[in-house]
């Protein structure tokens, strides 16, 4: 990631522009605790080297549902990275690696607006790092799945992870290796299938368990 952003000239010269007919940007957010593998996953599936940018909040009361985190006009700045996947001639999917920390809640609101759904990356050695992310997603009603990143530690049985996360039974739980393009791709496919199932019949909670 360092090289992706420190060599701006190179990055600009080798920019891969979108096709002229691209007209629909879509968003998926990858969230999770520090070092859970968010940037790695974005990099694995992105057609561009992950880029980094930041959002600044400079004013209080800017369409937020909770202003406790904003004191007066203090500027708060949050960096996030993103990658891109061209899906077809019209649709382009942007994948955001979003900081999962509590003090960034306002950025989440912004990123989640209009987001198709989210992947919660969990490092099973630090499961409680993901509680906050799951909380926010449930509050937002943002569809999400949980992906346990394999860091080579002891494998926890899925039921145990579900219990530790207090996960709704219909939320898919998958294992993954964020360093693998194929594995990360499968995570995204699982998420979109889950979203499809949710919207196809909101009354029926999808039963499928994927681990």
């Amino acid at each position: 990631m360092d090289s992706a952003t420190s060599e701006t000239h190179t990055a600009s010269e080798t920019r891969t522009p979108l096709g002229a007919s691209a007209d629909n940007g879509l968003k998926i957010v990858v969230v999770g605790g520090f070092g859970a593998g968010k940037t790695t996953m974005v990099r694995s599936v992105s057609e561009i080297r992950p880029l980094n940018t930041e959002e600044t909040m400079t004013q209080a009361g800017e369409d937020v549902d909770d202003t406790r985190g904003v004191r007066g006009k203090t500027a708060t700045t949050v960096a996030f990275d993103f990658g891109r996947i061209t899906l077809d001639a019209h649709n382009v999917l942007y994948l955001f690696g979003a900081p999962g920390q509590e003090r960034f809640w306002f950025l989440w609101d912004r990123l989640f607006s209009g987001t198709l759904g989210a992947v919660v990356l969990v490092d099973t050695r630090r499961i409680d790092d993901s509680w906050y992310a799951i909380d926010r997603l449930e509050k937002h009603g943002t569809p999400f799945i949980v992906a346990c990143n394999d860091f080579g530690g002891p494998a926890f049985p899925p039921e145990q992870v579900r219990e530790a996360l207090d996960l709704d039974p219909h939320v898919p739980l998958v294992g993954c290796d964020a360093r693998s393009r194929e594995s990360s791709k499968l995570v995204l496919i699982t998420l979109v299938e889950h979203i499809q199932a949710l919207y196809a019949d909101p009354a029926r909670a999808p039963r499928q368990e994927l681990v």
Partner: protein
């Protein structure tokens, strides 16, 4: 890791946007709105505006413009509003609906499976 805008003195950002510090909720640009230049840069144009016009010869998302210009997204949105108001760029906003269009979801799945 480079933090776009971080090295810039706040007054430079202030100048860039003529003092407007927030893009506000009525700013139409989403992070993934695709922006397309409608004209070439002209001499004397604010350099950031010219840079945006060069970047957007092909459709380019707001976040990509921000990352390339190393400017915060909020500042980029303001610059884009100016260009849009002047008719120098057009904006292809994401199709938003209360629930995602099933056809779009299917297209996303097909696209992902074909990766």
């Amino acid at each position: 890791m480079s933090r776009p805008g971080r090295d810039d003195a706040p007054d430079r950002l202030y100048t860039l946007t003529q003092g407007r510090s927030s893009s506000g909720p009525d700013n139409p640009f989403d992070l993934v709105t695709l922006v397309v230049a409608e004209c070439d840069p002209v001499p004397g144009m604010q350099s950031e505006h010219a840079a945006i016009l060069r970047l957007t010869e092909r459709p380019t998302a707001v976040v990509e413009i921000a990352a390339e210009l190393k400017l915060p997204v909020s500042i980029t949105r303001i610059l884009l509003s100016d260009l849009l108001a002047a008719g120098r760029v057009s904006a292809r906003h994401p199709r938003r609906a209360a629930v995602p269009d099933p056809d779009i979801l299917e297209q996303v799945l097909v696209g992902l499976r074909n990766l």
